[in-house]
Amino acid sequence: MVLLILRLLATVLHIALVFALAPLLLGLVTKLRAWLLGRRGAPLVQPYRNLRRLLHKTTLVPDTATDLYPIWPFVCFTAIAAAAMLVPGFCLGLLTANLSDFITLVGLLALARGATMLAGLESGFGFGGAAAAREALFSVFAEAAFLVILISFVLIAHSPTVDGVAGAFRMGHIGISVSLGFALAAILAVALTETGRIPTDNPSGHLELAMVHEAMLLEYSGRFLLLFEYAAMLRLMVWMCLIGTVFFPFGMARAGEVLSWPGGLLLWVGKLGVMAIALSLFEISTAKMRVFRVPEFLGVAMLLGVLSGVFLFVASRIGG
Amino acid sequence: MNLVYPLAHLMGGVILLCAFSMLSQRRLSAMITLYQVQALTLSAAAFWQGFAQGAGDLYLTGLITLVIKAILLPIGMRQIVQRFSMIRAVETTMPIGLSMILGVGLIGIAVLVVLPTTVSAVSLTREDLAISLSVVLLGLLVMTVRRHAIAQVIGFLSTENGLVLAATGMPGMPFVAELSVALLVLLAFLVVGVFLFRIREHFDTLDLVGIEEIERRGR
């Protein structure tokens, strides 16, 4: 009973933190990039300000849009939000642990992506459609690569859920294996694509021809745009939590033990910070690639995933 | 009575010889003459068999053969040849020599097929069957290698002769087969005659090339 209440508390705390910190994380990444590029950059809380500004703007609806125009932002936001609730952050054993199946996660991300693409096609003008087509192209490879990576997780941990995998890795008896290294490299590539960062897309770009994610939202404004923006922040958060949980599960708290929470929280924040730094470093050190280079980029990720599966097989044969 | 086999054999040989030399003939009238000789010999063979076996119906066979095949048919064909003034060389589809070689081969096949099979059969029919089979095959060969309608008809008739020869060889074969052969030849000539007329109406000659022309247009 107590355990249940604790798990509930942990879940609520996790959700609250994730939703609260998502804009901050984005702000942190942009700030770091600015610093690394030698600029002052916008303040950390800039994303919060943007959201508030959008709250106070009237919402403009293009006259060519259909009645479904308001639906897509909600679908996109709710899907990402649910994903954010599923992926454990600072502690394991949340109430949503059993739901957090990798494939459900893939499905939710796909749902959000689909809604965004439809939003791009909604008003029926060029840029939205072009961006949606590109998004479709990227997603094809990203999803394939992600699924391939799953094999090695699930086969090592004998559990299909994020929570279970993290728990298995946290025990640490796996150690650092080659296959996990490959998997990490692959999943980073996928994450970069999914969150629309350089090298596949430029969140701060302003040339419609080059934009992918932003270009689909060109016709959106006001509260609908807010939902999309917030969803984007959450997506970044989700992916960072995912990578942190699966690959660096050390020190994660257990929902059952209140005392382990502070440590878990600290470590979690630390992990997010480190990943933010890594991300910004990577972003300033590479350039955005042409659209048709992206499939190759993700194809490499897919191959890495296959390799990780193969090495895992070899290791297990050698092991026993 | 030991004269039966040699004579029957001899006449069979003559018939086969006629059939064989038809292959070598280029002119229609010569082919008709050969056919006449063949038919005469055949009727003689029929009479002889009838005498040897003491079977009355074979006499009748010989008579039919004599009257129709040896006398009426050649006359009719000669008239046709006269009427259409076709006393000229018959163009064959393959060189005479080659067709004769083929003929020899056919005779070989006939012997090969018949002799081993009839070891158990009645000895009288042994060579007789081989001979008549080769006459049949030679007749067919004539039909295939000759272009000329009359020539083909002659080949057909010589095939019939081969059949009759075989029939006369059969000991005690009921009459029905004989009758039907006669019937066939009669009708055959009738139908052929009809055709010759019609064909003449349409193409000015008996040559089947005209027909083949229609055929080539294809449908």
């Binding site: - | 099979t117 158990s120 059969a121 049949v136 019939e160 039907s180 139908v191 019609r198 229609i214």
Partner: protein
């Protein structure tokens, strides 16, 4: 009394009279009358098989009734054919035409009822000559050429068949003594093991070639497509389909002699290989010849070649079940084919004339726009020929294929290939023929009451194949058992 004799000889005797007197309409009427009588007699034969030189065994009964029935329906549709004056023939030729219809009918029945290999041969020959005359009736160049082809090839076939017949006699004569018994199927079957096997084999080759020519097996098929395409349709096409049965049944009987002799240790070879070769050849050549045809009668002539090939194949497979399948196939195919040709004739009549020139697919296409009923019937007949259900041929082909797989699986591959190719080639034409765009100035016309005959055929074909009546089942299975 022996009802077979009148059934056979009434038409043959009536033929000269019909050929001598009467207008063309009277001739048609006389045909119908004769056919009614003959149909009654053929049914009567089932209860009074008779005995002796001409009598009906079970096989004869079944196909005798079939012949009577098809002859009757053909004669009935022949009336409309004659009335509409499609063929421009002189009165003399009309008389000859009607006489020849009777001759074909009579000799077909003779071939079915004769218990004597000589008589069988006479029957086949008579039918050949009658059909030849029929083909040559419209004195067009193509008709004469077709008839000439028919005469030459058919005559050669007949000659070979006669030689085979004499060989059979020669093989039987030592055992059965000289005279008629050595030529009677009954006697031959009873003493089959005593026959000289090797001579029988030789005879079989000649008989196969002789009667195979009449059954139009590849490579002996050269006469059929053209003969089917020329001449007045009811005689040269509808009735000639009946002759195929006679030839096939003859092949079946001789095959049985050889097989039994082989099993009895008489020294004959297995007949299977010969039959399978010719059957497959027919099937495969047809498969590739069908797709280029533009004339419907020629097209379905080829399909007749295919189907007699299938039947011969079934006989070659051997065993009671396969032969049962083959016989069923012959039954159903005859019904369907004659129905199809009657439908074609009516369709062509709707499009102006049923004379030989008017059966091009381009001329007949879109039949449903001329008359819905005829169009659907035509489509039904053509579709039924593919052997897809609910066509009756499905049942027989099903039996044959399954038997082939059980007995020698490897032959079943070419068989299946041929069946599929033929079916595709046939089915391609259904669409345009029935639903296609009709040629310009096509108006919707009424179909005569006679069109119901066609649906009667179809219904019978379906019924025979799927709701196999017990007596038919009994007869066919006894026949197949006896001839396996």
């Amino acid at each position: 009394m022996n009802l077979c004799l009148p059934a056979v000889f009434l038409p043959l005797l009536a033929a000269p009279a019909i050929g001598a007197f009467g207008t063309r309409a009277q001739g048609a009427i006389a045909n119908v009358v004769m056919n009614v009588i003959v149909f009654g007699l053929t049914i009567g034969v089932c209860f009074e098989p008779g005995s002796g030189l001409i009598h009906a065994d079970d096989l004869g009964m079944i196909f005798g009734v079939l012949t009577g029935f098809v002859g009757l329906t053909t004669a009935l549709s022949n009336i409309s054919f004659v009335w509409s004056g499609n063929e421009v023939l002189s009165l003399r030729r009309w008389r000859v035409y009607h006489a020849m219809c009777q001759v074909v009918l009579g000799s077909t029945l003779l071939g079915l009822y004769a218990d004597n290999i000589g008589l069988l041969w006479v029957a086949v020959e008579g039918a050949t000559i009658a059909a030849t005359l029929g083909v040559s009736l419209p004195r067009t160049a193509s008709a004469l050429e077709a008839a000439w082809k028919y005469f030459i090839l058919g005559g050669v076939g007949i000659a070979l068949a006669l030689f085979g017949t004499m060989l059979v006699y020669l093989a039987a004569q030592p055992a059965l003594g000289p005279g008629l018994p050595a030529m009677s199927f009954l006697a031959l079957t009873q003493h089959v093991t005593k026959l000289d096997g090797s001579l029988l084999t030789l005879a079989f080759v000649f008989l196969l070639f002789g009667y195979g020519t009449k059954a139009a097996l590849v490579p002996l098929h050269g006469w059929l497509p053209d003969a089917y395409a020329e001449g007045p349709l009811p005689l040269t096409t509808a009735l000639s389909t009946l002759m195929l049965n006679v030839a096939l049944i003859a092949i079946l009987r001789f095959r049985h002699l050889m097989q039994a002799n082989f099993e009895g240790g008489g020294g004959a070879l297995q007949p299977g290989a010969f039959l399978l070769t010719l059957g497959l050849a027919s099937l495969l050549l047809t498969a590739f010849s069908l797709s280029r045809r533009r004339d419907a009668r020629r097209f379905f002539g080829f399909s007749s070649i295919e189907h007699s090939g299938i039947a011969v194949f079934a006989f070659g497979v051997g065993g009671a079940a396969a032969i049962f399948g083959g016989l069923l196939h012959m039954l159903v195919h005859t019904l369907l084919k004659s129905a199809l040709f009657q439908a074609l004739m009516r369709g062509a009549a709707l499009r102006g004339s049923a004379a030989p020139g008017n059966y091009g697919f381009s001329h007949l296409r879109g039949m449903i726009h001329s008359n819905k009923y005829i169009g659907w019937l035509l489509g039904g007949c053509v579709f039924a020929l593919t052997g897809l259900p609910p066509s009756g041929l499905f049942a027989s082909e099903f039996i044959i294929v399954s038997q082939t797989i059980q007995r020698d699986p490897y032959v079943s591959l070419p068989l299946g290939l041929g069946l599929v190719l033929c079916a595709v080639a046939i089915i391609r034409n259904v669409g345009p023929l029935v639903f296609g765009h009709a040629p310009p100035h096509t108006k919707h016309q009424k179909s005569g009451i006679g069109a119901n005959l066609i649906s009667l055929h179809l219904v019978l074909a379906f019924g025979i194949a799927f709701t196999m009546p017990w007596f038919l089942l009994h007869l066919l299975s006894t026949v197949a058992g006896a001839l396996q």
